[in-house]
Amino acid sequence: MTVQTWTFVIVGLTFALYILIAIWAKAASTKDFYVAGGGVSPLANGMATAADWMSAASFISMAGLISFMGYDGAVYLMGWTGGYVLLALLLAPYLRKFGKFTVPDFIGDRYYSNIARTVAVICAIIVSFTYVAGQMRGVGVVFARFLEVPVETGVYIGMIMVLFYATLGGMKGITYTQVAQYCILIFAFMVPAFFISFQLTGNMLPQLGFGGKVADGTYLLDKLDGLHRELGFAAYTEGSKSMIDVFAITLALMVGTAGLPHVIVRFFTVKKVSDARKSAGWALLFIAILYTTAPAIATFARTNLIQTVSEQPYASVPEWFSNWEETGLIVFEDKNDDGVIQYVGNQEKNELTIDRDIMVLANPEIANLPGWIIALVAAGGLAAALSTAAGLLLVISASISHDLIKKQIKPDISEKGELLWARIGSVLAVVVAGYFGINPPGFVAAVVALAFGLAAASFFPAIILGIFDKRMNKEGAVAGMVVGILLMLFYMMKFKLGLFGGGTKEEWWFGISPEGFGSIAMLINFIISFGISRFYPAPPEDVQEMVESIRYPRGAGAATHH
């Protein structure tokens, strides 16, 4: 069978599975729709959280990014895992005990104010939309490459899939499809990794192969450092970013992870406080399987790539090279007309440009793996993108139906009416996300990484102070959130989009890039919240009692409406 037939079969089977699950897990109540009925087991929730969390970016782009960044790639590896320690220790158990449906629910109740609730809704929608547009684009790109359809068609197919199971099943449908999607994506990520690790280092386990020896007896990483030095790149195991920037980006990603509404909301779906802790453990374990493999794949792919193309005659490149050249993701420009590929650090002399996104997708081809594995990778990439898109869409639809309509505009709305609005909200969200997937505004790619900065600058301090500082009042929290998110938006627009007079790398404040600035905005949020709160009265008695009660696990009922 050809690769394309394999892809049709495997992708078709996985899609059929998602549809079956969606029909089986149809949501009957708002509680089903928002928190999957509140009875998800910690193990299932861990898998669902892992799939929810690991997006097209984790699956498709990250290993490639790291392979071009070397040591600096650590910002993603640590940043996107370390946040779970914060989630497990500082947020998940307490928010579960609080026992409502959404993050704005918590902010609104804890700060006894609809202004706080509305600020939280706006932050949740900004964060989720910037993130989801990238996911739909990811679906389109995978389809385009492996099924040879236009990117737009791919986006439409993805929209219909998500629409079907998110609208029908809500959180309940999403949870169980995410469990299936996790299994598919991790299998698809690991199988080629085992093969490539074995080919290159003789060790099946990529985590060990990473530190293993290659055929000529030198350590893989030393070999790669050597190749880099020869070609004039910075050594792989040393970075080129400044230490303070690496620090700031890692912190912003960690804290942003802990502040992302679509991740937090997953911890509302389990039965008990102790289950919330357990599912954070499972989630990080499942995520760590991919995240400890990715840096290994990055080095394998980098080594393979350099050895395959460097100083090779262009006429004799392998088939995958020409396949990807057709998509425009590999570009060769023979600057010195010698017919040989010079891939070097010196920009003037370098003749090869490789889109970092293709490293994972092209990896099985580079390593000459059979067709079914290539098809599996396509199905895995789709699973990763669809699962994250669905989780984000649910946050947006719940923000509309629950936090805006039920809590503010029409409090006497019936259960049925709210459920209908939740479904309408998810349809609207899918359509808008699909639109951005088809017509990606230039700023989306730049903004996706910054969604973390926005979450770090707005939600994280408000939630942490809400739990750990009983004296924190609405004045402090609202001021902190507003200043935090505005400051982050300002910095991002100034240095990423060139507004407010723009700015160059040399003008970064404290030498910190926009990606890392979320950590500064977060600190400022903390300081402002704390300072302002001391000038205003303490929160009412009943709110203080609520803060007291979420600190102790006993008595956590299932998530309730009121």
Partner: protein, 85 residues
Amino acid sequence: MSNTQLKKYWAKNLKYLLILLSVWFIVSYGAGILFADALNNIRLGGFKLGFWFAQQGSIFVFVILIYVYIRLMNKLDQEFDVDEK
């Protein structure tokens, strides 16, 4: 349960958090970033140690930290009789 008991429970919880988060900080920001260059002089098989912490070691430690936390808290909940029945 009495108020003093609850205060004790919370104080102990905070102590656990402080210890676990210190480890979290030391492996990632300490070993992986601030002292990575110094640690790179030490080798762990094919890895330079600072690089290893930054790209792999810290993730292993994160997973262990959460499981330690789960165990500690389950015990603490029982000890103070605030666990869920």
